[in-house]
Symmetry: C2
């Protein structure tokens, strides 16, 4: 480490942004990253001993300040395979050099290991604006440069993570020896990746590393070319201790009292909507309207200033124009509020960056956590708390949703209401001047009212903080993320291959996955996952079985299973026979199990019960076909009953359903949803996508090992 | 051609399934497909002249029945670059051979062109069970074999199609010279592909062709290895003339009279449901109930047999058990019906293949076109015709939907009803024993009541027939296809690389795209495309502009634009300035145009009107954010009005909208849909996906050139 630091500091002192090749090699050596061995020989004997030390074959090159074009001078010999060849080669080179220029001063002959066998891979590191040091790995050449087949992880990476990276590229098979190639030494390659991760984590001044190519064969991995860019040490991200976050967040979500700064009796004013929602929402704590011109608002005593309120105030909701915020926040801070819910817009989002800085500074000085500015407010249903200017929402449930955009927040509200989705919280984070997703995750992690978290986000202030929080939460509850701006590739000024590859979204995608987050591809998916995931029990294994009345749905459901990364169970003969006993002779067992269309309720009942009871099956996907023999509501009630009965016996498995039929299937789907079966009409994709999301979480939480 | 036929017939006569390498080369030569040049020299002079003819560098190889291991005998020289080297090489080889075995009989020295530069690609052909001869192209090595980066087309391919194939692989950039490589000669490579397509089309006995590798460089393309598999000439697919199809299909969809075989007065019977639906649906033609035991059914005179019906019968709907079908069909055939709507199940789908063959044979003998068996029937709303046992459907409109599965048919019906989708036809094709998608496309093509066609299918009886029909239809109307069984890779017995690559779905996907079909990824997508595409006007160019009240929606809509293969217009300065004049200073012009959240209806109106009026803009994507200032229905009515006004001025452009807000946005979306704006609540993906589908069709129809 001392040597590394010395190299870096010298280079920085010289105003350089890149290390020289020898400096790069030296740093690699310090970190046990193999580079082609080399040495300077001043005799044939020495050349042989260097060659034997670094390994044959080798390249010999004349070293002379007087010989510029080594090759023209006959000063380069490539691929010498034995001690004899090296010895003879040394002499040949010296003779050639003297013949070329008899007066040349000759320092000696450089003996360099010849590399280039095995697989050409690229290992690199970049400094990501969101996540800090990030490690990249890919296969060299066309695969990385044209197909962008590359994978990223937060640095440092564990050995296990590094091995995972080898499998996380599309061409992973190649390293395992596809097409008759020699497999790479996976452990050696993973170790090299791990060492690069350690290097950039130890030395923050290293901005980018590019080992390209690295040659990986059965014996090991050697970095043939090393490029290291350096720069200023990045600023440390300040983080509050978890206990401190939790203390204030708990006061914010479970306040004993709420003050409304700018409360109003006048309909149409935000301060009136907030008052109305707090009161009508059924909040049981104290509500203090603050308005310098009123004595009483909506039947509650009003105060000129928050300072006048008797006793403690946990939360202050701001419903005043931006220009009045700073002094009011100062007063709220002095009063000791835990949370400032900063509804007003007119800060950074309209270019008023200074105004936002000012209020952040005020809040920080007083230890006040500020939500927003530029938000609709927040809901926390367990406390009947509706501190927003939108309409109240009161369907209690177990998913907490957050959004960075007000529009998306409104979509969450509308979707929740129309689907009767049970929520614990809906929170707008807006400009995220202070409270961000990490803080909310820290609260929801330990909140027993919340069983799943769904977050819409456009950026992360502190990517590492988010990953750390998400990893903790994911062990217990799914975290669903809709990351907007997927396709807006960062206009990154790339100083290296790795830098050029680190487009924003690929980095986000890999790292969110590494954090165990379930990423939703779109808004509607996020909403559906949020609605369905808390309802579905966690699967205990990968065996998914389709039971369908419509053969056509069975085929589409199978397609969806593959798309969702799920596994259609290979049904063993005894189980196949057991299913066959219930279905017509021309039905198809196997998987999908096609019970055929004209069957009575008993056939659905028998097969679904068997699917729930047999412990080798871990999840069921049902395909219903509307018939006169088994009408939609008969199917729905039957499935709800069978699932409940089997759950009571301990057979707890996720069950999803696709209902094909006339409009009665809509009511049937709703009934099933209410009874713990995730069901949709007119789609085979959605129920399976939701099951796939549940599985992604279950795998990340380690439930399927 | 004569020579080719001779080679093939000789090989087939010898019972072979593969050609030898020289036979393969000979066939390539006949078709102008370059293989490495070669010749046998019996003197040094001849070796030089052959080398100069085929091009340097060359490989020399001793040809002697007595020298088995040529290399050991010093009988191979690689990479001879000049006439002198060839001349000397000839002598060296002969000398070496004599030194090795003085008694060896020497036929001469083979002079072979040395190939291997440039890009390694694979060109092949397979005989697909659905599509017949299909051409494949990909980049050699890892790209094809590990990443399956390969593209397919129906053979023969035009030169333009062949050029298109070069761009249709993920690594297309490589051939254009990515990473500093020499670009391939695209015309030469396309020509080689074209020639392979002609070869397999000319010679049906060629089952598979594998040119692997082909070396393509700036000069041309040479097939270094040729493998050709042969087999029996595939059976010709019988096709009816278009006029014949149309004549019968028109009688089926616009019948003057319908007989119901098995009509019944008893509720719950299929023959009763069909009667009820025909009558209640409002069908104005004659209805003839056929039932040996009744004189009158539902107020209509019943007949013992269809033979007893006075006058002509266009359509016979069968509502009797499978075992009674054959004789009744025979009678219907004698009566001269155009169509037999074969509702009964119990044929091939239950293993009764013979029974199905029998009725197909009867229908064919009488020139009767049979729909089914094993179907729900069909609807054709312009005639108020509801010949099904399901409930009637009467929302007239312009999309025709077909389904191979009854369950999916029911989902179509339910979805149509709940969304009030206007349809012209819903048709079940079931077992497709006779009438298939080609026949239906042939009718819908010229049916003025149908503006778009959506088809669910699991397989195609005649892939080429489908492609031909689809290509014709697509010129005028979108054809949407949901191909189920995407992920069930055919268990193809592969005799070649190309064969192994031709997994069913990739072949389907490429060829459906080639046919101009809009493929829907899932059931719900097919239904949404069917509902929306006829409503949206066709775009006239690629410039899409987003106008949004919610910045958050704007970001998600941009993501969706990229996912849907659409292009966010690069807004020129004058247009940018024009938009900026309407939006607050802190709003963002550019694209998305973010008008910000708190704006009144006039801001939406001004910006949307500008977007519709400026002729450089071709499509609008709107993001609405529910606010008190501009409530959902105000937005909806305003947009509907502006769109209608601009259309009246000739500014006809597709407009789609994503509505974020509380539940009122649902009504607003419906209102917009009814007024020609495709709008959805709680999703940013769906409206853009639908617009993307419309664009895919418009491009295929040649409207955007």
């Amino acid at each position: 480490m001392g040597a590394v630091r010395e190299v870096i500091e010298k280079a920085l002192a010289e105003g350089r942004t890149a290390l020289t090749a020898p400096e790069g090699r030296q740093i690699c050596e310090e970190y046990g990253i193999a580079t082609p061995g080399e040495g300077l020989a001043t005799s044939a004997d020495e050349a042989v001993s260097i060659a034997e030390r670094i390994g044959l074959p080798v390249v010999l090159k004349i070293v002379s300040p007087d010989i510029l074009h080594k090759t023209d001078a006959g000063g380069v010999l490539v691929g010498l395979k034995s001690a004899e060849e090296v010895r003879a080669g040394y002499d040949t080179i010296l003779a050639n050099a003297r013949a070329h220029n008899a007066d040349a001063a000759i320092d000696g002959v450089q003996v360099q290991q010849l590399v280039g066998g095995g697989h050409e891979v690229i290992v690199g590191a970049v400094t990501d604006p969101t996540f800090g040091k990030v490690i990249a790995f890919g296969l060299g050449g066309v695969l990385v440069e044209v197909l962008k087949d590359v994978t990223f992880r937060l640095a440092p990476v564990s050995g296990e993570d590094a091995l995972g990276m080898l499998d996380d590229i599309r061409a992973a098979e190649v390293l395992r020896g596809a097409r008759g190639a020699e497999p790479a030494n996976r452990e050696a390659l993973a170790e090299l990746i791990e060492r690069v991760g350690r290097l950039v984590s130890d030395v923050p001044e290293i901005v980018e590393v590019d080992l390209n190519p690295v040659f990986a064969d059965a014996n090991g991995a050697v970095a043939a070319d090393v490029r290291i860019l350096i720069g200023d040490r990045p600023a440390e991200v300040a983080r509050l201790p978890r206990e401190e976050i939790l203390r204030q967040m708990t006061r914010i979500f479970k306040p004993r009292s709420v003050a409304v700064i700018g409360a109003s009796a006048e309909t149409g004013k935000i301060g009136n909507s907030v008052m109305r929602n707090l009161i009508n929402g059924g909040y049981q704590g104290q509500i203090f309207p603050i308005n310098p011109k009123a004595d009483e608002i909506m039947g509650l005593a009003a105060y000129k200033s928050i300072s006048d309120v008797p006793g403690d105030v946990d939360v202050a909701v701001f419903a005043i124009p931006a220009k009045f915020v700073a002094p009011a926040l100062e007063e709220a801070g002095r009063k000791g509020v835990a949370g400032a819910i900063m509804i007003p817009s007119g800060f950074a989002e309209t270019g008023n960056v200074e105004g936002q800085k000012e209020i952040v500074e005020i809040a920080r000085r007083h230890g006040v956590r500020m939500l927003g500015p530029n938000i609709y407010g927040y809901y926390y249903t367990p406390e009947n708390l509706c501190a927003t200017f939108c309409t109240p929402y009161d369907v209690k449930g177990s998913v907490a949703l957050t959004s960075q955009s007000g529009g998306i927040g409104m979509a969450i509200l509308g979707f929740s209401r129309t689907t009767k989705m049970g929520v614990s919280a809906i929170v707008g984070v807006g400009n995220k001047a202070d409270v961000d997703e990490d803080d909310l995750l820290t609260f929801f992690e330990q909140d027993d009212n919340t069983k799943a978290v769904a977050m819409h986000l456009e950026d992360l202030k502190d990517g590492r903080g988010f990953v750390e929080a998400a990893r903790r939460v994911v062990r217990q509850k799914p975290v669903i993320v809709l990351k907007a701006g997927r396709t807006a590739m960062g206009a990154r000024a790339a100083g290296s291959h790795t830098g050029a590859l680190a487009g924003d979204d690929k980095v986000y995608d890999d790292i969110l996955r590494q954090a165990g987050v379930v990423r939703a591809p779109g808004l509607n998916d996020m909403l559906e996952y949020a609605r369905a995931l808390p309802i579905l029990p966690a699967p205990q294994g990968e065996n998914v079985v389709i039971i369908t009345g419509a053969g056509g749905s069975g085929v589409l459901l199978s397609d969806a299973i593959v798309d969702a990364g799920l596994t259609l169970m290979d049904i063993p003969p005894d189980l196949d026979a057991a299913f066959r006993a219930y279905i017509p002779p021309f039905g198809a067992a196997g998987n999908p199990i096609d019970i055929t269309g004209g069957e009575p309720p008993s056939t659905y009942e028998n097969t679904v019960r068997l699917g729930l009871a047999d412990e080798r099956i871990h999840a069921l996907v049902l395909g219903y076909w509307h018939t006169i023999v088994t009408p939609p509501m008969v199917f729905a009630e039957l499935i709800a009953r069978v699932v409940a009965e089997e759950r009571a016996k301990g057979n707890v498995k996720p069950v999803v359903a696709s209902l094909a039929g006339d409009t009665e299937v809509e009511e049937a789907s709703e009934y099933l949803f209410e009874h713990g079966v995730v069901a949709y009409p007119y789609t085979t994709e959605k129920p399976v996508a939701v099951l796939g999301a549940k599985y992604r979480w279950a795998r990340a939480a380690g439930l399927l090992r």
